[in-house]
């Protein structure tokens, strides 16, 4: 109980001290507020943006919309592609070198091109998000599907199971842990994709808000946007972790079980 309390209290104290140091530094070093606002100014901006004036909501919703749809599309395609490539050595030998080559392109460099192709609205950002999420999920699911225990596959094969049955019963659950590792990486990248897309050209979204407020020397709003983004990021990756712990329940405890059996 005491440990749990400390686990919450210690980081909270650290954050409080950090905010205090930030605030004192701005005041004592006389940093101009157009360079670095005081923490309280950021708080005021957030309060105004979300509670009194409610001007941030549409930006938050736009960015979330781009992230959720782009992430959904990118991950779905990546999973299906990972499964198909893992199922066939021929497809693997044909496509893998190409995929690896494309993977080395920094996807954000394509942002201007995607805006030309898909317009200034949300769709170009969704495409960028999907593209950027695709690779980690694809690679992780591919290796996940391939990592299924060969003896288990033999066993199912010996009983004359169909390919689809083996896939659903053995390969998919075997890959689940690895797939979630990819989804975890993808969720962070998705946010980057959306913000970069908005930087290049947009009329709405937290990326747009950061850019427009920076140009207006409204640094408090810029910081408030960054805080909003980090809250989205933390929430989204915690959500993925939460789902992972429930879906791939055996992997976390498997590690704990190993330690137990060694002790016993």
């Amino acid at each position: 109980m005491k440990d749990r309390l400390l686990a919450i209290l210690l980081p909270l104290t650290a954050v409080a001290l950090l905010l205090l140091a930030w605030d004192r530094a701005v005041v004592w070093l006389q940093v101009p507020t157009y360079l670095l606002p005081r923490p309280a100014d950021v708080g005021t901006a957030l309060w105004a943006g979300y509670v009194t004036e409610r001007t941030y909501w549409k930006h938050l919703v736009t960015t979330l919309y781009e992230v959720v749809v782009g992430y959904g599309i990118g991950c779905t395609i990546a999973l299906i592609a990972g499964a198909i490539v893992a199922e066939s050595r021929w497809i693997e030998r044909t496509l893998m070198p190409i995929v690896v080559a494309i993977q080395s392109i920094p996807k954000v460099a394509l942002a201007p091109l995607l805006i030309v192709w898909f317009g200034f609205g949300v769709s170009s950002k969704m495409v960028l998000v999907a593209l950027i999420c695709f690779f980690p999920v694809f690679i992780n699911s591919f290796y996940g599907f391939r990592s299924a225990n060969p003896d288990l596959l033999r066993l199912y094969k010996a009983f004359g199971s169909s390919r689809l049955h083996v896939f659903r019963q053995v390969k998919l659950p075997s890959a689940a842990g690895s797939i979630f590792a990819g989804l975890q990486i993808g969720v962070v990248l998705a946010l980057i994709g959306a913000v970069v897309g908005e930087f290049v050209s947009s009329k709405e979204g937290l990326g747009y808000l950061i850019q427009s407020s920076t140009l207006a020397f409204d640094v408090a709003t810029m910081f408030a946007s960054v805080v909003s983004l980090s809250i989205i990021g933390i929430t989204a990756s915690s959500l993925v972790r939460w789902v992972q712990a429930r879906v791939v329940f055996w992997e976390r405890r498997e590690a704990a079980g190993a330690t137990l059996s060694e002790a016993g």
């Binding site: 003896d151 288990l152 033999r154 010996a158 009983f159 329940f249 055996w250 079980g257 059996s261």
Partner: protein, 261 residues
């Protein structure tokens, strides 16, 4: 006379490898009669596991004949049970569900066979653990689930690939006894692959000794010791005489001591 449960005649298996064709098994012949327990003993790399893949129909021989009950084996057969060296369980399924895997893999109703699965779980002394997941069990318990699963679809022939190799010595001794009891109760034919001489002699009616690669039968020894064999069998002169005779094969200058686990 009826056809033997498993008959292998002049079996040759050649793999293509980077250094040219590699012969894993050459002119190997052996038979397992109905209800017989045959142990296959050999140094590492003699193709013991290849033999098992052939017998289960997962691998096609390069030459020779493999037949189960007189029928040539060409594709995987459902009347054969396999127990692996590792428990090889599905970590996302409970003990009960894991034992039921053969039924599920064959596309049969799992509900109809739940009673039998529970019976088998009792047989391997895991009652009370039906709803546990593999990661909640010890290695020995997991292996027992694997054995129960091997019996699940009531195969007349059981292929066991060093099933106790990964267990600690004490669990191993205990499991060997349990397997003997289960085999005596069920009257199944067993092809048991091992690299432990005492284990082979303790369990088998006949011990087939394979040579180093390319694996071929160099000796077949009958074990006329009465059943059920018990711990004191291990100390008997009869038992030791057979063990020593087998050991002589592995002491030849060309062969290396068995270390694979």
């Amino acid at each position: 006379m009826t056809a033997p449960r498993l008959s292998i005649e002049k079996l040759t298996v050649t793999y293509a490898s980077a250094r040219g064709p590699l012969t894993a098994l050459r002119d190997l012949s052996l038979e397992v009669a109905d209800g017989e327990f045959v142990a296959v003993l050999g140094p590492s790399g003699c193709g013991k596991s290849t033999l098992l893949n052939i017998a289960s129909g997962l691998l096609a021989p390069s030459g020779g004949q493999v037949a189960i009950c007189g029928e040539p084996v060409s594709t995987p057969r459902r009347d054969v049970g396999i127990v692996f060296q590792q428990p090889t369980l599905l970590p996302w399924k409970t003990v009960l569900e894991n034992v039921l895997v053969p039924m599920q893999a064959m596309g049969l109703s799992v509900d109809d066979h739940r009673a039998r699965a529970r019976e088998l779980i009792r047989m391997v002394r895991l009652e009370g653990f039906e709803n546990h997941y593999p990661h909640e069990l010890s290695g020995g318990m997991q292996q027992r689930v694997g054995i129960a699963r091997g019996f699940m679809h009531d195969p007349q022939l059981l292929l066991m690939d060093e099933p106790f190799a990964a267990l600690d010595a004490m669990t191993r001794e205990h499991m060997t006894d349990e397997l003997q009891a289960m085999w005596m109760q069920s009257g199944k034919s067993v092809l048991f692959i091992t690299h432990s001489i005492p284990e082979a002699v303790y369990l088998a009616d006949r011990v087939v000794v394979l040579s180093a690669r390319p694996g071929t039968v160099i000796e077949v020894i009958e074990v006329p010791i009465a059943r059920p064999r018990r711990l004191d069998t291990l100390g008997s002169p009869e038992f030791n005489a057979i063990c020593n005779r087998l050991r002589a094969h592995f002491r030849a200058p060309a062969s290396e001591p068995e270390t694979r686990s």
